[in-house]
């Protein structure tokens, strides 16, 4: 059931990123960098993290029925709502699911029936975006990925991992250090780029737009396959910083070659609560997002907000970050994510 986590080879590898292969990769990294895959033996850590999540959610759903085994009372439905909220599912989504549950409560008389119902509700929300759940890659074009998000979400680390993944597939990658604000952000990206073997474009302290322009130019000139652009973390309510992003978007539109595949990706910390919805809303409006990257899913955070983001903003999750190692990046598969939650 965790096949999506173990990097099974994709059939249609020309239209999506093929994964790095079936064997776990060992990467030459400086000794101080701890990789989850090295430290804990491959994917077991995510498996255990997710099954922990699954257990606690399923566990609390089971607990709702208790020993009585009778039909659901209103209090029990309230408890289910609370269970969802505790997993950081957005309030409206939680209310919608429990309203549907209320209407159907007469036919739900066992924990198993409840579980089936919840699973069905969740997949109805996530399934429409199944086809969009992979990063697009066009072998004939320059693929430009612009990475945005709030401070500390994990943008730079994600870029390191993504660059590594493309390079493992034999692609030529340019990385643009567009975070010229945070102290040493360029250094951080430089270390990742070196580990991954990507070309780095940096102009410390310069206007981010000019770095982004140069990175795309460099990608065109060197006939790279992929350009990944970092941006400074910004809180979505900072009007002037969001205006700066808009400018960056225009720069990309101007600089990109005729044949280009551009994706805007929002990096979202799995521990984020209801504010994730605001982030999705505002960044989507400014950047025409094509998807979300969910990071730090190796903790005990449940990442329940991705349900709300899919339902309210039609944004698919494209990848998940599951550790600090360069290989700790996975494709997202909604069905298997739900399976992991419920089994």
């Amino acid at each position: 059931m965790f096949k999506w986590l173990t990097g099974k080879p994709k059939k249609e590898s020309s239209s999506v990123i093929g994964t790095a292969g079936t064997t776990p990769l060992k990467h030459p990294e400086p000794s101080q960098s701890k990789s989850t895959s090295e430290k804990k033996g491959g994917l077991s850590s995510l498996k255990s993290a997710l099954s922990l999540t699954g257990k606690s959610l399923v566990g609390s759903l089971r607990g709702v029925f208790g020993d009585s085994g009778t039909a659901l009372s209103d209090e029990k439905i309230d408890e289910i709502e609370e269970t969802l909220l505790r997993a950081d599912v957005g309030l409206d989504t939680a209310v919608q699911i429990t309203d549907t549950l209320r209407k159907n409560k007469n036919r739900i008389q066992s924990p198993e029936a409840l579980m089936d119902f919840m699973q069905e509700e969740f997949s109805q929300i996530l399934r429409p975006y199944e086809s969009a759940n992979t990063l697009k890659y066009d072998p004939q074009a320059l693929n430009i990925y612009i990475v945005v998000g709030v401070n500390g979400a994990g943008k730079t680390t994600f870029i390191g991992k993504l660059a590594h993944r493309f390079i493992q597939e034999g692609k030529k990658v340019v990385v643009g250090a567009g975070d010229t604000f945070r102290a040493a952000a360029e250094d951080q990206l430089a270390i990742w780029a070196e580990r991954a073997g990507a070309e780095l474009i940096r102009k410390d302290g310069a206007d981010p737009s000019s770095v982004i322009f140069e990175a795309i130019e460099s990608g065109k000139n060197s006939q790279a396959n992929v350009v990944i652009l970092d941006t400074a973390g910004r809180l979505q309510n900072k009007y002037n910083l969001m205006e700066e992003l808009q400018k960056i978007r225009h720069v990309i539109d101007k600089a990109k070659p005729e044949h280009a595949n551009v994706e805007s990706l929002l990096v979202l910390d799995a521990t984020t609560g209801q504010n994730a919805l605001k982030q999705a809303e505002v960044f989507k409006e400014i950047m025409a997002l094509s998807g979300v990257i969910l990071t730090k899913l190796d903790g005990s955070a449940k990442g329940g907000m991705i349900l709300s983001i899919a339902r309210e903003y039609q944004l698919p999750v494209k990848m998940v970050g599951v550790g600090e190692g360069i290989g700790d990046l996975r494709d997202f598969n909604p069905n298997e994510f739900i399976d992991a939650l419920f089994k």
């Binding site: 500390g152 952000a185 521990t271 984020t272």
Partner: protein, 488 residues
């Protein structure tokens, strides 16, 4: 960050406003309160305790008989929020020489930035901090701290190429002893509370150095998980306090509210901007006031006192009186406003009804870019013109200024004209203010409309009136209004 929470609560109270409060509609109001808190990421456990306390107190205080039950419920919710937020503001324990402060938390919560901010704050209070860069895992984390240290002129202890955290901290400790730094601030790597190896690393440091403060750094956007994080860190390391970061965002911040309730440990500081001086002392009382949509004038006033030079303010007031006020002074006023933390923060602290976060950001941004334009215009004037706006009426001068700053002549003419009008207005208002002051005896006004309970607190704080010329901020014309400028 608590904006939406206060909007929700206001909605809840509006429902019972006017009507008499009954057991039923109080339940309805409390349901709204619960929903608001849930939406704000407050932990469910904390909410339950909160609601039941309010209910008990409402019964006990016979709210039902009160003429204005809505108001009374507001007060109850306010008081309970203060309790939920961790009661009194608790200062740092600065014992020991060196005094040792250790920061830890999840990845990306803002430890390195907070370490820098804390160092700057303590330096301003006359201490001699030494930063210790003990995050050996995240690429360039050490460089980041070094860069921040340079920005704020505070030394950073590192051990080149070493990944031995204990050796790094030991080196910092010895350096502090030898060179006389009285405060050691240790920045550690981000870690998940479920990562036992990484937690053990902290535990070792804790045992050896017995830090006087063990501060958990938590992102204000954290969801329900915040409680698990806080609980685990607290159980294993017995934290002494919390730094809540990114509170300048629009996260409802509720999870952080419950952290102090669940762990019993106080929130000591709030991170309020990306700048190095963006660290504020946490005051539960003020935050509760802000949650209820009453603004946070006390914070603003305190900040103004720190920033604004009293002598200069008096000089400025004198100039306004004599109608001596020049473009040069105007620029100085703008600078002081900027030092207060920018328009958005100022607007955020004022109790303006219906001003939501987005509108505020937009207004502030408009205001700030307008301020930049004005700065450009004034800087393109000669020193003489800056002192005497009359000079600009001579032919050729305005076109020259326009060329200098790239702003159309018409805008400059309009600005000069409005500047002169403002000067007149200021003079008149100063006169009026003086008159009013005489009539009111000694009572000094702030020129701002304040809610009743804030005014009460004002009396307690006897220093608060100083630093303000009659009737307004030195950063604003008396009367408290912003002058109207082109495009504003």
């Amino acid at each position: 960050m608590f904006d939406q929470l206060s909007e929700r609560l206001q909605g809840a109270f509006a429902k019972i406003g006017g009507k008499t409060l009954t057991a039923e509609n109080m339940d309805e109001a409390l349901r709204e309160v619960r929903r608001a808190l849930l939406e704000a990421d407050v932990n469910l456990r904390a909410i339950k305790a909160f609601i039941s306390r309010i209910k008990d107190r409402a019964d006990g205080e016979a709210v039902l008989k009160n003429v204005d039950p809505g108001q009374q419920l507001v007060k109850l919710v306010h008081d309970e929020l203060v309790v939920l937020l961790g009661k009194e503001n608790s200062p740092l324990n600065l014992d020991g020489n060196p005094n040792i402060l250790m920061l830890f938390g999840l990845q990306g919560s803002g430890k390195t930035t907070s370490a820098g901010k804390l160092a700057l704050k303590l330096k301003k209070e006359g201490r001699t901090p030494l930063l210790v860069a003990a995050d050996v895992y995240r690429p360039a984390a050490i460089n980041q701290l070094i860069a921040l240290g340079q920005q704020i002129s505070i030394p950073v202890h590192t051990l080149d190429g070493s990944t031995d955290v204990q050796a790094i901290v030991q080196g910092g400790f010895e350096k502090a002893k030898a060179e006389g730094y009285n405060t050691l601030i240790i920045d550690t790597a981000g870690r998940l509370q479920v990562d036992t190896d990484m937690m053990a690393e902290l535990l070792v440091l804790e045992r050896i150095y017995k830090p006087h403060e063990k501060l958990l750094v938590i992102d204000a956007m954290t969801g329900q998980e915040a409680v698990n994080v806080a609980e685990t860190f607290n159980t294993q390391l017995e934290i002494t306090g919390v730094i809540m970061t990114k509170t300048d965002g629009d996260a409802r911040g509720g999870a952080a509210l419950s952290v102090s309730e669940i762990t019993g440990k106080p929130i000591k500081f709030l991170g309020t901007s990306e700048k190095m001086d963006g660290l504020e002392t946490f005051h539960p009382e003020r935050m509760a006031t802000r949650i209820l949509g009453m603004g946070d004038i006390v914070s603003l006033v305190e900040k103004a006192q720190q920033v604004i030079d009293t002598d200069e303010a008096k000089k400025l007031e004198e100039k306004i009186r004599k109608q001596d006020f020049s473009f040069e002074d105007f620029l100085r006023m703008q600078k002081q406003m900027k030092m207060l933390g920018g328009m958005s923060q100022i607007l955020g602290m004022l109790p303006i009804p219906g001003l939501d976060k987005n509108t505020r950001e937009m207004l502030a941004h408009g205001g700030e870019s307008q301020m930049k334009r004005i700065e450009a215009m004034i800087q393109s004037m000669t020193p003489g013109e800056r002192q005497d706006s009359e000079l600009l009426k001579k032919s050729g001068r305005i076109p020259r200024v326009a060329k200098g700053c790239g702003i159309p002549e018409s805008d400059i003419r309009q600005f000069v004209q409005q500047f002169e009008q403002m000067k007149m207005m200021m003079k008149q208002m100063t006169k009026m203010g003086d008159k009013a002051q005489k009539e009111q005896g000694k009572q000094k006004g702030f020129g701002l409309h304040m809610p009743r309970n804030t005014r009460k607190r004002k009396k307690k704080d006897k220093n608060m009136g100083s630093g303000f010329p009659s009737g307004g901020f030195p950063g604003m014309p008396p009367g408290g209004g912003f002058p109207k400028f082109p495009g504003f």
